[in-house]
């Protein structure tokens, strides 16, 4: 039986299809992650709902002290967009190092957050930036922080009838750095990634690719409260993160190796932040 292909052009149509089809309707954003799942026989959708032609999903707009990024904005656009570069360069720096240009041309910010792959670059960066997502359904709309959105590998709090439509990033950071530590080729996913952000609410450090979801520890970040960042404090926080995290083992590094790298990379990210 042939797969049903839906190509809605309005938000209302997307939400109606999502409500109607439930788990049988797979949303297609850039398709780069879905393609991998389908090629490997992990996913065989009965119906696909393409978000490629929905009006308004590709918008980037400044809204007061926040940046609103439509779910269908591609990695490539975030890499080069002049407003993004000016307002929050860490977003551009992070999306610029995902995979290769061919993938970045299509992969979207909504897609990568909804997929919740443990080894993707953007989730840790978005958590450190204290970003949140807008989840819409035919019956309502809610905002969820990216920190609460991702529960585990490929698992989010998005309900069957909901669509991730927008990402909202506060613009109150005074310094922000994303570091990607690779153990294989340049375009590979990270072995360990660190996103460190100094914002009005304090320091936020998220470590990606080392567990089912990005790791952030608010009590450890609070060690920086009232203290100037220097190499001693950077080392203290790096060591505390390494002690707290129980890293996974995969082809990019063993658990023990990752533990050592976390201490070093968190320290370096914080030193970069102070520089």
């Amino acid at each position: 039986m042939s797969t049903a292909w839906h190509s809605p052009t309005t938000r209302e149509e997307v939400l109606r299809l999502r409500a109607e089809l439930g788990e049988d309707g797979t949303l297609v954003a850039g398709g780069t992650f879905l393609g991998v799942l389908m090629n490997n026989g992990i996913l065989a959708p009965e119906a696909m709902i393409s978000l490629a032609h929905v009006e308004g999903f590709e918008r980037i707009a400044r809204d007061g002290a926040e940046l609103r990024i439509g779910a269908m904005v591609t990695h490539r656009r975030l890499e080069f967009d002049a407003d993004i570069r000016a307002l929050c360069p860490m977003i551009a720096d992070t999306f610029a190092v995902v995979a290769n240009p061919r993938v970045r041309n299509w992969a979207t910010i909504g897609g990568v957050l909804a997929d919740a792959d443990y080894a993707s670059d953007p989730p840790a960066a978005m958590i450190a930036l204290d970003a949140r997502v807008v989840l819409e359904s035919a019956s309502g709309r809610r905002e969820v922080s990216v920190e609460d959105l991702i529960e585990d590998v490929y698992q989010t709090v998005i309900e069957e009838d909901e669509v991730l439509t927008e990402v909202i990033v506060p613009l109150d950071q005074s310094a922000a750095r994303y570091r990607k530590f690779r153990t294989r080729s340049h375009e590979d996913r990270p072995c360990v990634s660190v996103a460190a952000v100094q914002a009005s609410g304090g320091l936020r450090v998220a470590v990606g690719a080392v567990a089912g979801k990005p790791q952030i520890f608010h009590d450890i970040c609070a060690l920086a409260k009232g203290r100037a960042m220097d190499s001693g404090l950077a080392r203290e926080i790096g060591t505390a993160y390494a002690e707290r995290i129980d890293p996974i083992t995969d082809a990019r590094g063993s658990s023990a190796y990752r533990k050592r790298v976390i201490a070093v990379e968190v320290r370096r990210a914080l030193e970069d932040l102070a520089a």
């Binding site: 042939s2 797969t3 292909w5 190509s7 297609v28 398709g31 780069t32 879905l34 393609g35 991998v36 389908m38 090629n39 490997n40 065989a44 959708p45 696909m48 393409s50 490629a52 490539r76 995979a99 290769n100 240009p101 061919r102 993938v103 041309n105 299509w106 340049h186 375009e187």
Partner: protein, 152 residues
């Protein structure tokens, strides 16, 4: 489902499951064998096509997503395209398996950036793997093609 798009300047319509990947439809129904399947995860680059002006992994794009779009493969180039000449002159080819995608990606790079630096070439081709290891000569070919200029 019938899917209509433009392929190398000609309107085409294929009857297929929209969940089939563009790669298999291009190679099968459309007879375009310059796109090649290798990794199936968008990593190696041999399946590269250009969709609405953007390099794209055809192994990851369901063909349903091509409806109404403009698709190009290396077959769209003239045989005397400066990039093809440059690859031959620079001896940048050994087995040739990755070359159609390399040529297509380089053609696109030079349209966007007519005089790329070594770093810019490396970044643009970061996702195109050559298992013969011709990278240094491929980089020479890019500089040579840049010197020849884009076709009129």
């Amino acid at each position: 489902m019938k899917i209509a798009f433009e392929l190398n300047g000609t309107p085409v319509e294929v009857e297929t499951d929209p969940a089939n990947m563009a790669l298999s439809v291009l190679r099968g129904e459309c007879g375009i064998t310059s796109v090649r399947g290798t990794c199936g995860i968008g990593l190696c680059g041999t399946c590269t096509m250009i969709v609405d002006g953007k390099t794209t992994a055809s192994c990851l794009m369901p063909v349903g997503a091509l409806a109404g779009r403009r698709v190009e493969t290396v077959d769209v180039l003239n045989e005397d395209d400066p990039v093809i000449d440059a690859f031959i002159e620079a001896n940048a080819v050994q087995c040739g398996f990755c070359i159609p995608a390399m040529v297509l990606t380089v053609r696109k790079l030079l349209e966007d950036n007519p005089k790329p630096t070594d770093d810019e070439i490396d970044m643009a081709l970061a996702g195109n793997i050559c298992r013969c290891g011709c990278y240094a000569k491929i980089r020479d070919a890019v500089h040579l093609a840049a010197a020849k200029g884009n076709p009129a």
